[in-house]
Assembly symmetry: C2
Homo-oligomer: 378 residues x 2
């Protein structure tokens, strides 16, 4: 099996930005290409969810390739809801590993701010199966994950303050991350008492509306953080078809595939970025990824096991909750943080981090990708 | 190099359909899977341009995978304007060739009718670089290709009736194709005198607004029409950056790559489906693909060289002009027609067709894919 490595990374600040999606993409890509030493690029993959609805722009692959002056190289946009970035990265990795391309630029971006709430909510709901009665009868993503949170608390004895512990941890990490959207200190009390979005999720339990872009350059060889494996799984996009509300099967199965392909398990992972679109989603993800037993994730939060000094530092970037969640950028931004960790250049650096994992979820569990990385020479 | 073949194909009728994009996708896929003998499917790739804007639905990969009961297999949507289908097919082919997957379902679809003209025109214009002054100052796709047509006529001496000959040929082919949108007989006179859309292009020179879906199953091995090669190129999405209006570089370069990879040239091709979004585009494409010299395409039409009994039968399906152009479906529908030709089951069958080619264009030349196919056992 031939090696593939991340040889450059770039990222914009996340938040409300007075900047077009094209401009953000260009900035992130230029930074990544510069760090990679301006290699010849053989193909360009862009992860994006809803630029047509939100940014009046499709064909981001061609727009980006042209604006960067990369010539006539193949380019394409990949869409898979909030997993669009992870999906684009996966295709690029598979094709470099296979020898189809030597060097590929992978970028992700979303422009979401500056629109009215209804437009943005409708666009986000494009990540449900709208040829069903769910979205049309009022289901939203906060609604879905709110139901999960209530069920989780009922089944396992967790309380609202355990959700808040996720939000607090990620905010504390975000404070040290210069690109994060929210860097203001907060407290467990402020989080618990914040405005209710959908019972039991409050404002701090929900990832924000964000603009931003991120990019990586990957290349055949071992000249950077090595990509050890990629796992992807689909799941039902319909709530009514979910067999067990507290089991996000795509997350579990994508992780199993990635662990198996890398010959590693949860105990080998030193640092992880995972998809905390809601605080509840992080608790389920640390269980599905195998770091904690099912139903015990909240106890890990209580015991501080998912941060520095615990068992596995989770979302040291600040996560979607506080770093921000420009949908198409998220999967690539997670990888940027893991690469930074393994290059010893991260905000909230984890000492002696050798193996990292990034997990990117789409929809209510419609898609999940997991990628595992190893420090150069480690 | 290991072989990859198309082992099943499915397609809906094209036109104004009272049916959702999901429903159309399912029908085309079920037909393709049935013909393929219901194999285990390892991944699902969907080509689609603007389902978010036009059909209130993203995550088509997951929706389709779930509805077909294919389990948790990886799935993703690919977008590259009108080349979305060709791009999805290319990724699937590359990954099967590389051994990442054994059997992949590739589908394309678009739902475009039932909306007001402004909504549809705005959605189609998402295939321009809207972070520029072009779309905002009124440029549309008919406008772009109308400028090309005027320039072509000025440079090479072609007349409006040569454009009409493209439309007439494709309509005559469509009459025999049961899935085609327009199957009513017409005449050169009716076409020339039809309502002007953008000078010099009349109604019959422009592909219609259509609904439809198409699908193929591809598999490692030689158990079907073999895929010999794939070529892809990007080009500028901006009219102001085009160096030569009468040279669509992405079409030329994607063809060169595909010819080279297959070890074949234009003279080896027995039947072709190419991207006639406008009559003018077909004339340029037969030149870029190397069937006729630059500036001589119109003479080939005049001499009847692009139909049965000529040099190369072009768009025997009826083409985008008369078969219809549900954007995301088009690239796959072209491949369905080539596969049908090479399986001796096509509308307008070309006798002794051994090698076929499909070319799919995106935007004003932002993307092009070319795939070359060989008859089973030939």
């Amino acid at each position: 099996m031939s090696s593939v490595s991340v040889i450059g990374r770039g990222i914009t600040t996340f938040g409300k930005k007075d900047e077009s999606i094209k401009s953000m993409l260009i900035k992130a890509c230029r930074e990544a290409l510069l760090e990679a030493g301006r290699p010849n690029v053989d193909a360009v993959f862009v992860g994006n969810f809803a630029s047509g609805s939100l940014a009046n722009q499709e064909i981001l692959g061609s727009v980006l390739t042209n604006e960067l002056g990369l010539g006539n190289v193949p380019s394409v946009k990949m869409e898979g809801a909030c997993a669009s970035g992870g999906l684009a990265f996966r295709q690029a990795y598979q094709l470099v590993k296979a020898g189809e391309y030597k060097t590929v630029l992978v970028a992700g971006a979303e422009k979401m701010t500056g629109l009215d709430t209804e437009t943005v909510t409708n666009a986000i709901n494009l990540a449900m199966d709208n040829d069903s009665n769910e979205g049309s009868t009022g289901l939203t993503f906060p609604g879905f994950f709110g139901v999960l949170a209530n069920r989780y608390m009922y089944e396992y004895g967790a309380e609202k303050r355990h959700l808040a512990m996720v939000a607090l941890k990620n905010r504390e990490y975000a404070i040290a991350n210069p690109i994060a959207q929210f860097r203001k200190e907060t407290s467990l009390e402020e989080i618990i008492n914040s405005r209710l979005i959908t019972d039991p999720l409050g404002l701090f339990d929900c990832s924000p509306i964000s603009d931003g872009a991120a990019a990586v350059v990957i290349q055949k060889g071992q000249n950077g953080v090595e990509i050890l494996s990629s796992g992807q799984a689909s799941g039902t996009p319909l709530m009514q078809e979910v067999e067990d509300l507290l089991h996000i099967s795509a997350t579990y199965e994508s992780a199993q595939k990635a662990y198996e392909a890398a010959g590693l398990g949860p105990k080998d992972i030193d640092v992880v970025e995972l998809h905390d679109c809601f605080s509840m989603t992080e608790i389920i993800a640390i269980e599905e990824l195998g770091f904690f037993e099912k139903g015990k994730g909240w106890e890990a939060l209580e015991a501080g096991l998912t941060k520095h000094g615990g068992i596995i530092p989770v979302n040291t970037s600040g996560g979607l909750l506080s770093k921000g969640h420009p949908i198409g950028a998220t999967g690539i931004a997670q990888i940027v943080q893991i690469v930074d960790q393994l290059n010893e250049k991260a905000a909230n650096q984890v000492e002696n981090a050798r193996i990292g994992l990034a997990q990117n979820l789409g929809g209510t569990g419609a898609y999940s990708t997991v990628h595992i990385f190893r420090k150069k020479g480690a």
